[in-house]
Assembly symmetry: C4
Homo-oligomer: 191 residues x 4
């Protein structure tokens, strides 16, 4: 079973998610700069989510470079990841329209956490299919960055009720951490 | 005539359907957990439809692994399937926003039934093109799962007027039945 | 210059058009069959447009089977076709929501006419690139079906002001004419 | 690392942007020509943006013909371009719905400027990867058209506050300049 359609379908879903999020930025009714002001928090939450989906696309792209075999479990763990990513437009819109209020920030963190868990499960199902000493498994290694992300999101959810900006800061921090693309797989494949 | 563009177009349509369904989950106006409550039935109907479209994508993917030849009839039976799938966002939204009321549940069942019929017709047109003793025909076999699905949906529509939860239970049951990916085609192709 | 990305981009745009049209079918507020009634004309206009876009995708697919070479003019005549197709959701929604009123029917006919002109221009640019005695040019031939379509749409626009149902009848007639997929190209390629 | 998925993802995002822009053209409530009148400026701004996204797709397509190698920086400069392009539906809708008022025109110019800067940065990252004497670098050359575009947009933003039609004229002028597809890369690749 080829990986071509899985990649194409995932690309399609991620391309649509990243683009329809912008529809939450409703066109304001007035025509001056003042009319744009309420759009600013929606815009900021959009930027954060665009970067996050961009990171997922990048990592998915890197990961599947090393994939040789696909089975039913991989198809479903991949769809499971896409499910959580598909909730980004909702969570982003709610957080932006409520000016980063506590509960929406906590929900956004929850969606981030489950997406990160889903990515980890996808990684696991791929390693199981390719073997513990496959280039793929070596490339992923201990997956330190993945573990830090999971811990940060899990921490951010309760912290958002203490101070929502700490939670937002953690979201940004994890994004910065991943912004540098994952060279592990590239390196090992080159070797 | 190649199957490449048919697969790409179907992937595109299914990726968009699965993603725009989430737009029916309107961003609530308040910012507390209470504001999220009316979203819960919409979310549940979204999860059910996400899994259903996921199953269709999975089965489509498996089916076309064994496809070698495409003709005009196949293009149209495939478009016919995509038509019924394209009604999922509407039926899902109506069912979710009305808290799984009787008539919307019956309509949802009707869309499921016609999508299942369309998939059967697509399967037939593929077998007709490839021959009764092609690997494709052998792989599909008696298509027991397909027949159970058709019967369940046909049963669920009238039953929804007796008790809508029985109908919903049938929808979930069929989804569970298909959740396990179709190994028949994989097996025969491997042999 | 390859035709791969042109096909992929066109597939993407047509897949999105065919799917977002359904968003014009707004989820009704009530939960009974009565609430669905105002949706019926919107649904009927959606079915007509789904078939029309399906026909364009089918013909595009058949046409590009025979394409070997792509140049700047072809890229732009193709984008020009996609532009007119992109107006289908708007024209379909307006016609459906106004219960096939005269002016919306005339506008729908206008969009159909310009899309048909655009397809003819695309065909011309492809023949110019491949030569008058290329398989592509032979396959297209006198393009009788294309000319009948152009004439029917041009006729339907003024006729819609006399009787809008005659115009709608012409739209359906042309769709039926094209529903039978274009075997000309298939035949000549096989020879 | 292959360029296939980068092209597919970019095609997907651009196909969606070009198509969802039309959703800003809200279906009018009346059914006469008069009801269409408020849609005219929205339609005109849509046409301008359709052509602009078409130009970006065309140039992206030409550019990547000559691309052989992809790295992390290229993935991100490409995503950065897609980010600015994703703001077109918002900027287009705001400009159209406010009948080309001063501030929306200035914002539209700003989005155009940043998209042009992003395209230049993408070009730079590609040249850095392929070398100063690669066919790609030779094909891009001094990039006069790119520089004229950047200057025109930068000029249009302040000018829009003097006279918004001058700014709009500049937008159209740059579009006309690019409308003629980029033959530089084609030529050099043929040599």
């Amino acid at each position: 079973m080829g990986k071509g359609r899985l990649e194409a379908f995932s690309d399609g879903v991620m391309a649509i998610i990243i683009t329809i999020m912008v529809l939450e930025m409703k066109v304001p009714h007035g025509d001056g700069w003042a009319a744009l002001r309420p759009t600013i928090p929606v815009f900021l939450s959009y930027v954060l989510s665009f970067i996050n989906i961009g990171i997922y696309w990048n990592n998915h792209h890197h990961l599947f470079q090393a994939v040789r075999l696909v089975n039913g479990r991989i198809l479903w763990t991949n769809l499971h990841l896409l499910f959580w990513l598909s909730l980004f437009p909702f969570a982003t819109g709610w957080m932006g329209e409520n000016n980063f209020a506590t509960t929406p920030v906590a929900l956004y963190g929850t969606v981030l956490l489950f997406a990160a868990i889903a990515f980890t499960l996808l990684t696991r199902s791929l390693i199981d299919r390719h073997g513990q000493d496959s280039p793929l498994a070596t490339a992923i290694g201990r997956d330190l960055k993945g573990k830090i992300s999971l811990a940060s999101y899990a921490l951010a959810i309760p912290l958002s009720f203490a101070n929502r900006w700490i939670a937002c800061g953690l979201f940004v921090l994890v994004a910065v951490l991943w912004f540098i693309p994952d060279r592990r797989i590239e390196k090992i494949l080159t070797d």
